[in-house]
């Protein structure tokens, strides 16, 4: 595991544009250059057409909360001081088959509903024992 775990390794090539864009408040997702479908995660070959190359495109940051969990137990010690937290999946407006893993913020857990409209916000992620921070796309009710 890389030394900044559980922060991302923003130099890891397959997701480097995702983190660079997040730092300037933009959400990028990969699209298959062969079939044109959004493909997530950013890995080749394309799961739809076996295409070999992906490009990054900007998406609206609007979507629907596909599902989530309210986590109250720290399976890794670095998240202990965030408990409870809401982590889940957002299905993007551009293609709901793309589900972005995210924290849901600024919302009481009791108010969460599957398929509720959400929108991206960019916030710093920090974890105890790990130097620095990373700006990340989180989601909040729209």
């Amino acid at each position: 595991m890389h030394p900044d775990f559980p922060l991302p390794d923003v130099t890891w090539e397959p997701a480097r544009p995702f983190w660079e864009a997040a730092a300037r408040g933009v959400l990028l997702i990969t699209r298959c250059e062969q079939c044109g479908r959004l493909v997530w995660y950013p890995e080749t070959p394309c799961r739809y057409c076996r295409g070999a190359s992906l490009s990054w495109i900007e998406v609206s940051g609007r979507g629907r909360l596909f599902s989530w969990s309210v986590v109250r137990y720290a399976w890794i010690p670095q998240v202990a001081d965030r408990l409870p937290f809401v982590t889940g999946l957002v299905a993007l407006e551009e293609d709901p088959a793309v589900r972005v893993v995210t924290y849901v913020v600024d919302c009481a857990p009791d108010a969460l509903r599957c398929d509720m409209a959400v929108q991206v916000v960019f916030r710093p992620l920090r974890y105890p024992g790990v130097a620095g921070e990373v700006i990340a796309p989180l989601f909040t009710p729209a």
């Binding site: 775990f5 989530w68 995210t102 599957c114």
Partner: protein, 399 residues
């Protein structure tokens, strides 16, 4: 939703009725014990050999999974038993999905004469190793670079969180309730209470206890999640002809199925989010066996979480998709009169977390009619194996 847009059925040759499981062995099951994986597998193997009435020198085929460096491979087998004979060795054995599919590969090896008596083992010492988060259930996920970079930073880690998210969506789509998930946990605990060696044998659980307990990854409570254990098991396979000369009642391999998801262990992206690759595995196994779900007397599924039991029960065709919640409610899964006796040893929730191999041993025991929580007149039993990327269906029949 069609079932072809997110995975496929692996094409298997018909091996129905060619081999039997002739020896079974459990290790001691425990919390942290200081034992090693190989010590555990060796103990289970000794017991499986004794059960079959065979000696270590009879074994000429060995199956395991190279899942950790310390599995019971040919070198470990020879070192433990002091044997020198050549072994057909396959890494398509072990627990999880492979506890169900190993009989397929063993049948091909036995058919072709590469082996006559094939041993499959799996063991873990994760309760002992857990303190270091080394070799534990989360490690393989923590080491995956896509998960490290696109899941873990957002707290979506490890497996209880993945499957809590799946359970929440299942509740949304189908109206599944906490009481229904709890019915699975309660049935498993009751069975463990009757089963010698089960880790949770002395810990009764009622539905009221379940509902009173706090959620740890909503909607999951602790009791929705499997144990972390030290333990393992082993089973020995041979041709049906040889099985007739051995001491135990014949438990034949009637059908095997295998299914694969396109999205592997990236559950976040699985198109059929509330399904398992059992939708691809089970039909082939039932076709090979020539039986239907209604013919099944006892079922055991790889059950890391209650929702994984519920989804496999749906996906194998024991009820319609989405009806799993009402189906499992009440006493449906109980050994003594339930419509579908399920994980009659307690499963990974309450017996031990040894990743499915003890489930196969339990099904064999049920078909021999020597189980602790014995299903009356059990003749056809099924194991549903699962890893996420794949599922297997193993149909066994008492002959």
């Amino acid at each position: 939703m069609t079932t072809t847009d997110w995975g496929f059925a692996n094409q298997l040759e018909d091996v129905g009725g060619e081999i039997a499981i002739v020896g079974i062995g459990d290790s001691d099951y425990s919390k942290a014990s200081g034992r090693t994986t190989q010590q555990i597998a060796a103990q289970a193997t000794e017991r499986a050999l004794a059960d079959a009435g065979l000696s270590a020198a009879d074994i000429d085929g060995l199956m395991y999974v190279p899942f950790s460096a310390d599995q019971f491979d040919a070198a470990a087998f020879r070192a433990h038993f002091g044997t020198t004979r050549a072994l057909w060795e396959s890494q398509k054995g072990g627990g999880m999905v492979w506890a169900g599919s190993a009989p397929y590969d063993a049948a091909l090896a036995i058919r072709s004469g590469r082996a006559t008596y094939v041993l499959n083992t799996f063991a873990v010492a994760w309760a002992t190793q857990r303190a270091q988060m080394v070799g534990g259930p989360g490690q393989v996920h923590a080491e995956d670079e896509y998960k490290q970079n696109l899941e873990v930073p957002f707290g979506w880690f490890p497996q209880p969180v993945y499957f809590a998210t799946i359970a929440r969506r299942h509740m949304h789509e189908f109206g599944t309730t906490a009481e229904q998930l709890g019915a699975i946990a309660v049935a498993c605990r009751r069975h463990a209470g009757l089963t010698p060696g089960a880790v949770m044998r002395e810990k009764p659980l009622t539905l009221a206890d379940y509902l009173r307990s706090p959620t740890i990854a909503d909607p999951f409570r602790k009791e929705d999640c499997c144990l972390i254990s030290d333990g393992g098991a082993a089973y020995i396979m041979t041709s049906l002809e040889r099985a007739r000369d051995l001491r135990q009642p014949i438990v034949a391999v009637l059908g095997v199925g295998l299914g694969t998801s396109h999205t592997g262990a990236y559950w976040s992206q699985q198109a059929a989010f509330t399904a398992t690759p059992q939708v691809f595995a089970a039909p082939g196994a039932f076709a090979m066996a020539g039986v239907r779900p209604r013919d099944v007397d006892v079922l055991a599924c790889y059950d890391p979480f209650t929702i994984v039991s519920l989804m496999q029960i749906e996906d194998m065709g024991f009820c319609a998709k989405g009806d799993g919640g009402p189906f499992v409610a009440g006493d449906t899964l109980h050994f003594d009169g339930g419509a579908l006796p399920y994980n009659t040893h307690g499963g990974m929730l309450s017996h031990a977390y040894v990743l499915g191999i003890a489930h196969v041993v339990e099904i064999v025991r049920q078909l021999r009619r020597t189980a602790a929580a014995q299903v009356r007149d059990a003749s056809i039993g099924i194991y549903g194996g699962y890893t996420g990327p794949q599922a297997s269906t193993l149909i066994l029949e008492r002959r």
